[in-house]
C-alpha cells in the first residue's frame, strides 16, 4: 500500500506533513474559508482572543483525568453546574465586580468538590466505561440540577431577587443577567493592541493553571496518577491506592471545570440557566481532540492548538458556507457538517497515524528479528561447516 510507504519515508518534509496532518488540514480549510466569509482580520483576531481566553480554562480541566487513565472526563458538566449555582447565588445577593466573581468561586468550590467526589466514586465502579458513564452522569445530574434550581430555589433555598426568580414565586428564570460580573475578569487588566482589548488577567489565570498542571505532574500524586493511568495492576502492586488516586483526579478536574465555567460565563455575560452546561463536555472534548490529544494522552499545547482551530472553524464556516451555497439556512447546516466532519476526519487521521506507527514498529521489530534469526542461522550453519 502506498500510504504505508509514506509513513516509512525519512524525507523530513513529508514526515512533517504527516505528523501535522490535522493542523495543516485545518489551516488549508480556514485559508479558503476566511476570504469566502468576508470577515475582517480585526474581527477574526478579536474573536480568537476572546475564545481562547474564555474556553482554554475549561479545556485544561480535562487534562488531569487523562493522566490517570480515565479518558475524557464528560463529568466536567457537573463542575459547570456547580459554577452556575455559585453565579446564581451572587446574582441573588447582588454581589458585583471582582468580589462577586471570587465569591461565586468560593461558594461553588465545595459544591464542585462534592459533585466531583460523587462522580469519582461512580466512575471507580465503572472502570473501562468511564466516558460513557460520565456522559450518562451528566444527563442524570441535569435532572437533579433542574429539580434544585427550578423547583427548590425560592421554596427551600431562599432566593429574594425578583429579577432572577420566576413570578410564580419559585424557580429561577431561564436566562440570568450577569451584568454585575460581566467581563470583570476580562477588563481587570487589559490593554489594547490595534484597538483590540487583550484580557491579560484571563491569560494570567490560564497561565497559572498551566503551571499548576506542569507542577502537579511532578508531584508524588502526579507520578502516582501516571502509574495508575498506565496500569492499575502495577500501581496496586507498588502500593498506590488506585481508587483514591482516580477519585482525586476527578475531584480536581471538576473543581477546575467549575472555575472554567465561571470564567466562560463572565465573558458571555448572560447565563442560560438550564442549558449553558449541557454541551460543555462535548465542545471542550472536541477541541482537545482536534488539538491532537487522544483518550490516553493530552498535553497543554494540544489544548491551545485545539481551541484555536476548533473555534476558527466555528466562526468562519457558517458565513463561508452561506457564501458558497448562497442560502443562509444552508450555511448553518454547512457549518455543522464541516465542523463535525472535520473533527471526525482529524480524529481518524490521528488514530490512523498511530496505527501506522504501531505497524512500523512491528515491522521494524520483525525485520530485526529476521536479521537476528539470519545471523543466528548463519552462525550455526557456519559453525557446522567449520
Amino acid at each position: 500500500m502506498k500510504t504505508q510507504d509514506l509513513t516509512k519515508t525519512t524525507h523530513p518534509v513529508i514526515r512533517f506533513l504527516i505528523n501535522n496532518a490535522v493542523p495543516i488540514l485545518f489551516i488549508v480549510l480556514v485559508a479558503f474559508a476566511i476570504p469566502l466569509s468576508g470577515f475582517s482580520g480585526e474581527y477574526l483576531f478579536r474573536e480568537m482572543v476572546t475564545r481562547v481566553s474564555r474556553n482554554s480554562f475549561l479545556v485544561l480541566s480535562l487534562l488531569i483525568p487523562v493522566i490517570a487513565g480515565m479518558g475524557m472526563n464528560f463529568g466536567i458538566v457537573l463542575g459547570a453546574m456547580a459554577g452556575e449555582i455559585g453565579l446564581i447565588f451572587i446574582t441573588d445577593w447582588e454581589i458585583v465586580g471582582m468580589p462577586g466573581l471570587l465569591l461565586a468561586m468560593i461558594i461553588s468550590t465545595p459544591i464542585a468538590a462534592l459533585l466531583g467526589y460523587f462522580a469519582g466514586k461512580i466512575l471507580n465502579k465503572a472502570k473501562g466505561r468511564e466516558m460513557a458513564t460520565g456522559l450518562m452522569l451528566g444527563f442524570f445530574m441535569n435532572g437533579v440540577y433542574q429539580l434544585v434550581v427550578l423547583y427548590s430555589m425560592g421554596k427551600i433555598i431562599p432566593i429574594g431577587n425578583n429579577n432572577i426568580l420566576l413570578p410564580r414565586g419559585f424557580g429561577i428564570r431561564n436566562a440570568i443577567n450577569l451584568e454585575g460580573v460581566r467581563q470583570v475578569l476580562d477588563n481587570l487588566l487589559s490593554f489594547d493592541i490595534f484597538g483590540i482589548g487583550i484580557p491579560i488577567a484571563n491569560f494570567i489565570a490560564i497561565g497559572l493553571l498551566c503551571l499548576f498542571i506542569v507542577w502537579f505532574r511532578r508531584t508524588k500524586l502526579g507520578q502516582d496518577m501516571r502509574t495508575v493511568g498506565q496500569s492499575m495492576e502495577v500501581a496496586r502492586a507498588s502500593g498506590i491506592d488506585v481508587e483514591k488516586t482516580r477519585l482525586i483526579s476527578i475531584v480536581i478536574s471538576t473543581i477546575l471545570a467549575c472555575y472554567g465555567q465561571i470564567i466562560f460565563l463572565q465573558n458571555i455575560g448572560t447565563m442560560n440557566t438550564y442549558n449553558s452546561h449541557e454541551q460543555v463536555g462535548t465542545f471542550a472534548i472536541a477541541a482537545l481532540l482536534i488539538g491532537g490529544a487522544s483518550v490516553a494522552r493530552a498535553t497543554i499545547p494540544n489544548v491551545f492548538v485545539g481551541v484555536i482551530l476548533f473555534h476558527m472553524v466555528f466562526v468562519v464556516s457558517p458565513r463561508a458556507g452561506k457564501e458558497l451555497i448562497g442560502q443562509a439556512q444552508l450555511g448553518e447546516h454547512f457549518r455543522v457538517f464541516v465542523s463535525y466532519g472535520i473533527i471526525a476526519i482529524s480524529l481518524a487521521l490521528y488514530a490512523w497515524r498511530k496505527q501506522m506507527e504501531k505497524q512500523n514498529l512491528r515491522r521494524q521489530a520483525q525485520a530485526i528479528n529476521r536479521e537476528a534469526l539470519k545471523i543466528q542461522q548463519g552462525s550455526t550453519i557456519g559453525g557446522k561447516e567449520s
Partner: protein, 349 residues
C-alpha cells in the same frame, strides 16, 4: 433454592432485576393514580416492536469489536432516504413499506461500506469517531433534504414550495402497514402489533443464525481476539467492514419500522437523537462495549422503553405538574448510570 435464586440473579444481573422490579412497581401503582394498565402495556409492547430493530442494529458491530455504534445515524439516514423515495413514488401498503426497505438497504450498503473503511482506520477509537461521523452526516443530509428535487405535494414545504418538511405523515402510504398484519385485540385497549413483533423476531432470528455461520463466527473471533483471528487466516478488516455494513443495514430497516408505527417520517435533526436511546437501551439490557447478546437487546428495549413511557405518566398523575419531566430524567438516567456501574458483575458470571 437460595442457590438457584443466586444463579438466576447472576444470570440476569442485579441491576436488571432491580429495574424490572421498579417497572413492575410502576405498573402496579398505575391504577391507584388513575393510569390504565392496559393502555400502558399496549404502549410498551408497541414500543418494543418500534425500537427493537434499532437496538438490534448495534449488535454486529459490538460482536466484531467495533464498539457501540454511535454513528447509528448513518443507517437512519439511509432508511429515511428509502422512505422518502418510496413516498415520492407514491407506493402504499406493504409494497411501499418493502420498497422503502429495499431502497434503504441499497443506501445503507453504500454508506456502511464507506463508514466501515473509515472505522477500520481508527481501531480503538471507533466510538469517539463514530459520534462525530453521526453528527456531521446528519448536518450533511440537512443540506440535501432541502436541495433534493422531491416533488410530492405531501412532503414539500408549505410556504416555500420546495424542499422536504421536517415531519412527513405516512398516513396515506404505509402507516401501520406491518403492525396491522395479523394484529388482534386483547380487551378494549390492547392491540398486539403482531406483524411488527414478528418482523422484529425474524430479524433477531436472522442475526442469531448469522452468528452461527462461518462468517459470523469469524466475526466473533475478530471481536474477541483480533491477533488470534489474524493468525487463523481471517481477514480482520474485511470482517469488521461486513459487520459495519450489517449494522447500518439493520439500522436502516429499524428506522423504517419505527416510522410505519410512528406515523411520521422525521428528517433533519431528528436522526441525531436516534443513537442515544438505542445505546442506552442496550447498556441497560446488560451489554457492555465488547460483549452483547440478543437477550440484552430484548431485555434492554423492554426496560428502557417501559420506564420511558411509564415514569412520566405515573409521576404526572401523582404530582400534576411539569416537574415530572425532571424526575423522569433523574430516574431513567440514574438507572442507566447504575446499570453501567454494575455490569461488570454480569461479565464475571
Amino acid at each position: 433454592m437460595v442457590e438457584r435464586i443466586q444463579k438466576i440473579v447472576n444470570n440476569v444481573g442485579l441491576p436488571r432485576i432491580i429495574i424490572g422490579l421498579f417497572l413492575l412497581f410502576l405498573l402496579a401503582s398505575a391504577p391507584f393514580v388513575g393510569v390504565r394498565i392496559d393502555t400502558s402495556l399496549n404502549d410498551i409492547i408497541l414500543r418494543l416492536a418500534m425500537n427493537g430493530i434499532l437496538v438490534l442494529s448495534l449488535v454486529p458491530m459490538v460482536k466484531s469489536g467495533c464498539g457501540l455504534n454511535f454513528g447509528l445515524q448513518l443507517g437512519v439516514i439511509s432508511g429515511l432516504l428509502g422512505a422518502v423515495i418510496s413516498l415520492e413514488l407514491n407506493t402504499t401498503g406493504f409494497g411501499g413499506f418493502f420498497l422503502a426497505i429495499g431502497l434503504a438497504i441499497i443506501f445503507a450498503t453504500v454508506f456502511g461500506f464507506l463508514y466501515g473503511i473509515l472505522l477500520n482506520r481508527v481501531k480503538g477509537e471507533e466510538m469517539v469517531v463514530a459520534t462525530y461521523v453521526g453528527f456531521s452526516s446528519v448536518a450533511f443530509m440537512c443540506i440535501w433534504w432541502l436541495i433534493l428535487p422531491f416533488k410530492s405535494q405531501d412532503m414539500i414545504w408549505a410556504y416555500g414550495g420546495a424542499g422536504l418538511r421536517t415531519t412527513i405523515s405516512v398516513e396515506n402510504y404505509w402507516y401501520d402497514a406491518l403492525n396491522n398484519f395479523l394484529s388482534f385485540k386483547i380487551g378494549s385497549h390492547i392491540t398486539i402489533p403482531t406483524g411488527g413483533l414478528l418482523f422484529f423476531a425474524l430479524l433477531c432470528f436472522l442475526v442469531w443464525v448469522f452468528f452461527r455461520t462461518k462468517i459470523g463466527s469469524a466475526m466473533i473471533a475478530v471481536g474477541s481476539n483480533p491477533e488470534f483471528a489474524r493468525s487463523c487466516g481471517v481477514n480482520v478488516n474485511r470482517m469488521r467492514l461486513v459487520s459495519v455494513i450489517l449494522s447500518t443495514i439493520i439500522a436502516a430497516i429499524g428506522i423504517i419500522m419505527y416510522q410505519q408505527s410512528f406515523g411520521f417520517i422525521q428528517l433533519y435533526m431528528a436522526p441525531l437523537y436516534m443513537a442515544f436511546p438505542a445505546v442506552a437501551a442496550l447498556l441497560l439490557g446488560g451489554a457492555s462495549v465488547n460483549k452483547v447478546s440478543l437477550k440484552n437487546v430484548i431485555i434492554g428495549v423492554f426496560l428502557f422503553q417501559g420506564i420511558l413511557t411509564m415514569t412520566p405518566s405515573i409521576i404526572n398523575n401523582l404530582i400534576k405538574s411539569d416537574m415530572s419531566e425532571a424526575i423522569r430524567i433523574i430516574i431513567s438516567n440514574g438507572l442507566i448510570v447504575y446499570a453501567l456501574t454494575r455490569s461488570s458483575g454480569v461479565r464475571q458470571s
